[in-house]
């Protein structure tokens, strides 16, 4: 008989669906976001299939529009935004701060149900004919022109937003009020700092997209003239409101991934992070400055040139804290005793790809260059380097790093290394050619293109195929590890931190007695004063 842990403490579907344990809720999220990830992947597969040839032969133009819209909606709102916070954050934050649970366990469970309800709305929208406005729901596509199921999909996004708000609220209160005795702010793991910054963006940004989507629905249903120029409204106001949330939303995706990388880099270089407080504060800086850059999405939409200059400058400034993180991770790895386990491979992938994604973001923040590459595949490649090369790499790295803790089992390391390699190669083969073809002038969101662009698109589709194998592999070896994997010790990596001091998998209460923390939670180099400023 195994010792009692959160997995075997209670059996049956009801014990999972009515649980208030943050670890079980994290697993509920894991299952549901994995579903949406592969659903979004399916839409991406259809896009890549269509773009294999220059002619529009697989999908009609209208269906192609629906495919990229549903791909964007599902991946952004139902996978990327909840991915790391709702799964890894939910599971780890209480353990990392020495608490028994999040501050509001019932609200945590409710947030999952809200997420599922929003997901059902979006699925209904997809199955009943789809939406063709683009994931941005730009007016007037979404109000006057489109005849598709905009309201259903928009309501799905609206509802899911509240799940995100409640998660952020829960994290903020938990980090403020539930820390173990002695665990001061500057002893917190950087993963927790990153989630604190993410939560700030969630609670400040998400309500704005909620009201915006509600106004779009009001305009469609009640014919109120908010965004429709025919009724006296202003469609550019929609773009301002939308990007006020949706640009910071990129930081909802990337900040938690940065938190994951900060943990992995320390564990596999066997070194305390270089410049702890710089990384901690750079998370906050990204969260705050990230709210002031939305105008760089609207350079060509009639925004005043002076506003454009300001947004351009601030967009450059927001790159500084991101760069600080990259330099600090590099300095952490420098002269560390590096072990190339699979989480570290993902971390290396993240650092490289995020750097490319970030630097090309600076190209786009420059107004002159942006006019040339606006709405081309250059933009598509840029944000996929951030969202896929950055956020998903971080998510997978974190999942591999903490899987022994979550499941209590060890997975096949060779298979994991193979998957990490396939993801890296597949990703670059998919998206690097898009930088080139975008720069050459191929616009996004068309199902046909001139024949001279075919070679790039064939590379892209081939890369996407490799990438999908890399994404499917972990499904198999993670599931396999649950049934056949060796039991994991409490600390399989020799890593530091409170989560590695509790058994794998942790007991329901996390800690038999509340730990008392006397120094920073990461102590890889005890001879130096580290982790504490």
């Amino acid at each position: 008989m195994d010792t009692l842990n959160y997995i075997n403490n209670g059996h049956g579907l009801a014990s999972w669906l009515l649980t208030k344990d943050h670890k079980r809720i994290a697993l509920l999220y894991l299952v549901s976001i994995t579903f949406f990830f592969f659903l979004g992947g399916l839409f991406a597969f259809m896009i890549r299939l269509e773009l294999l040839t220059p002619a529009g032969d697989v999908l009609t133009a209208e269906n192609y529009n629906k495919m990229f819209t549903m791909h964007g909606v599902v991946m952004v709102f139902f996978f990327l935004i909840p991915s790391i916070p709702a799964v890894l954050g939910n599971f780890l934050i209480p353990i990392m701060i020495g608490a028994k649970d999040l501050a509001f366990p019932r609200i945590n469970l409710i947030s999952w149900y809200i997420y599922v309800l929003g997901g059902i709305f979006t699925l209904v929208a997809a199955l009943s004919g789809g939406v063709d406005t683009g994931w941005t729901f730009y007016t007037p596509y979404s109000t006057a022109a489109a005849n598709s199921h905009v309201i259903t999909a928009a309501l799905g996004v609206f509802i899911t937003g509240f799940s995100s708000i409640l998660t952020g609220l829960n994290f903020i209160v938990t980090i403020h009020r539930m820390r173990a005795p002695g665990l001061t702010w500057f002893r917190l793991p950087l993963f927790v700092w990153a989630h604190y910054a993410t939560s700030l963006v969630m609670i400040l940004g998400t309500p704005v997209i909620a009201i915006t989507v509600l106004l779009v629905a009001a305009e469609r249903v009640l014919h109120m003239g908010i965004f429709d120029p025919a009724l006296g409204g202003d469609p550019v106001l929609f773009q301002h409101l939308f990007w006020f949330y949706s640009h910071p939303a990129v930081y909802i995706m990337i900040l938690p991934a940065m938190g994951v990388i900060s943990e992995i880099v320390q564990a596999f270089a066997r070194k305390n992070v270089f410049g702890y407080s710089f990384i901690a504060f750079s998370s906050l800086a990204i969260a705050i400055i990230g709210f002031l850059v939305w105008g760089h999405h609207i350079f060509v939409a009639g925004q005043s040139v002076y506003a454009g200059m300001l947004f351009s400058i601030i967009s450059y400034i927001v790159a500084v804290p991101s760069a600080i993180k990259v330099f600090n991770w590099t300095a952490t790895i420098y002269r560390g005793s590096i072990s190339l386990d699979s989480p570290m491979l993902y971390a290396f992938g993240f650092i490289g790809l995020f750097t490319i994604g970030g630097l090309t973001g600076l190209f786009l923040a420059a107004m002159g260059l942006d006019i040339h590459v606006h709405d081309t595949y250059f933009v598509v490649a840029h944000f996929h380097y951030i969202m896929v090369g950055g956020a998903i790499m971080g998510y997978l790295g974190g999942l591999h790093y903490w899987w022994p803790k979550i499941s209590g089992k060890l997975y096949s390391e060779p298979a994991a290394k193979l998957a990490a390699g396939l993801v890296f190669i597949g990703f670059n083969l998919t998206f690097f050619p898009q930088f080139l073809v975008g720069y050459l002038g191929m616009p996004r969101r068309y199902h046909m293109y001139p024949p001279e662009f075919q070679v790039f698109n064939v590379m892209s589709t081939l890369g996407a195929t490799i990438l999908s194998v890399g994404y499917l592999l972990p499904m198999f070896y993670f599931v396999h590890s649950i049934f056949r994997g060796k039991p994991s010790p409490a600390d399989p990596w020799g890593a530091k931190g409170l989560e590695w001091e509790v058994p794998s998998p942790p007991p329901t209460e996390n800690f038999a007695v509340t730990p008392i923390v006397t120094h920073g939670t990461h102590q890889y180099a005890p001879s130096k004063e580290v982790g504490v400023v």
């Binding site: 109120m224 009724l231 006296g232 106001l237 007695v513």
Partner: protein
């Protein structure tokens, strides 16, 4: 650490035990109320639980500010674009009903504060319920006046949409004004209705003698919510009702 964690494992190096717990003032009181029936298992004590709940409500109110903020931004943009139309449209709202409702809401904030106070000082359940019910009656009065105002607008076809009728100079701008008017006051009224629902539950709990000096957080955070709804109206009233006063309204 007084007595809460007798054999807590010390996570760290021997000889460097320096315990400090800023942000955890509850530790000091952990022995004061060890087994309060309302204490949830994952909190150390009632103080920590109460602080978590009030902070949670404050954070929620921040999200509410951002939620209403989108509407206020839309108001700002369209009023700048249609200054005269907004004045003309505003002049057709009854400032007297608006002012009456403002007074009602401010008074309800007073009675709400007294309800929190009566729970905090462990007054009789009759007193606690009296203040809560008074607040609810005032809230219902506000909504009643709102119904009168809305039905007057419906009667004159001043509701935005295909049937919108406007006999003034600026029909297009007036329609936007009334779109915003209905969105903003409608959303505000929805918050009032939700507040009345919450207060019903709180009043029943008060009648069952659940609130006293040791446990009154639910009343307190309901109060926070109610004051927030009140403050939103304090901004809505001048922006919607008073900007047309010098336009020759009634």
């Amino acid at each position: 650490m007084s007595d809460g964690y007798p054999q807590a494992p010390s996570v760290g190096l021997p000889g460097r035990v320096s315990i400090q717990a800023p942000g955890n003032p509850h530790d000091e009181q952990s022995s004061a109320h060890p087994h309060h029936p309302k204490l949830q298992h994952h909190f150390d004590d009632m103080g920590q639980q109460a602080e978590a709940s009030t902070l949670g409500m404050w954070v929620f109110l921040v999200t509410e500010i951002m939620f209403f903020g989108g509407l206020f931004l839309a108001y700002l943009v369209y009023r700048t674009q249609n200054p005269m139309a907004f004045q003309e449209a505003s002049a057709h709202l009854s400032w007297k009903l608006g002012a009456f409702n403002t007074a009602v809401l401010i008074f309800s904030s007073l009675t709400m504060a007294l309800a929190v106070r009566s729970a905090q000082t462990s007054e009789s359940r009759g007193t606690q319920v009296f203040w809560l019910v008074t607040t609810m009656i005032l809230g219902a009065t506000f909504l009643g006046v709102k119904v009168i105002e809305y039905s007057e607008k419906f009667a004159h076809n001043n509701v935005p949409g295909p049937n919108f009728v406007w006999d003034g100079q600026y029909p297009a701008g007036a329609e936007i004004f009334y779109s915003l008017y209905f969105c903003m006051t409608g959303l505000h009224a929805l918050h009032m209705v939700i507040g009345l629902g919450i207060m019903t539950v709180i009043a029943i709990m008060a009648w069952r003698r659940q609130f006293n000096t040791e446990y009154f957080t639910p009343v307190e955070i309901t109060g926070l919510y109610w004051h927030f709804v009140d403050i939103v109206w304090i901004f809505l009233f001048p922006l919607l009702y008073l900007i047309g006063r010098h336009y020759g309204g009634h």
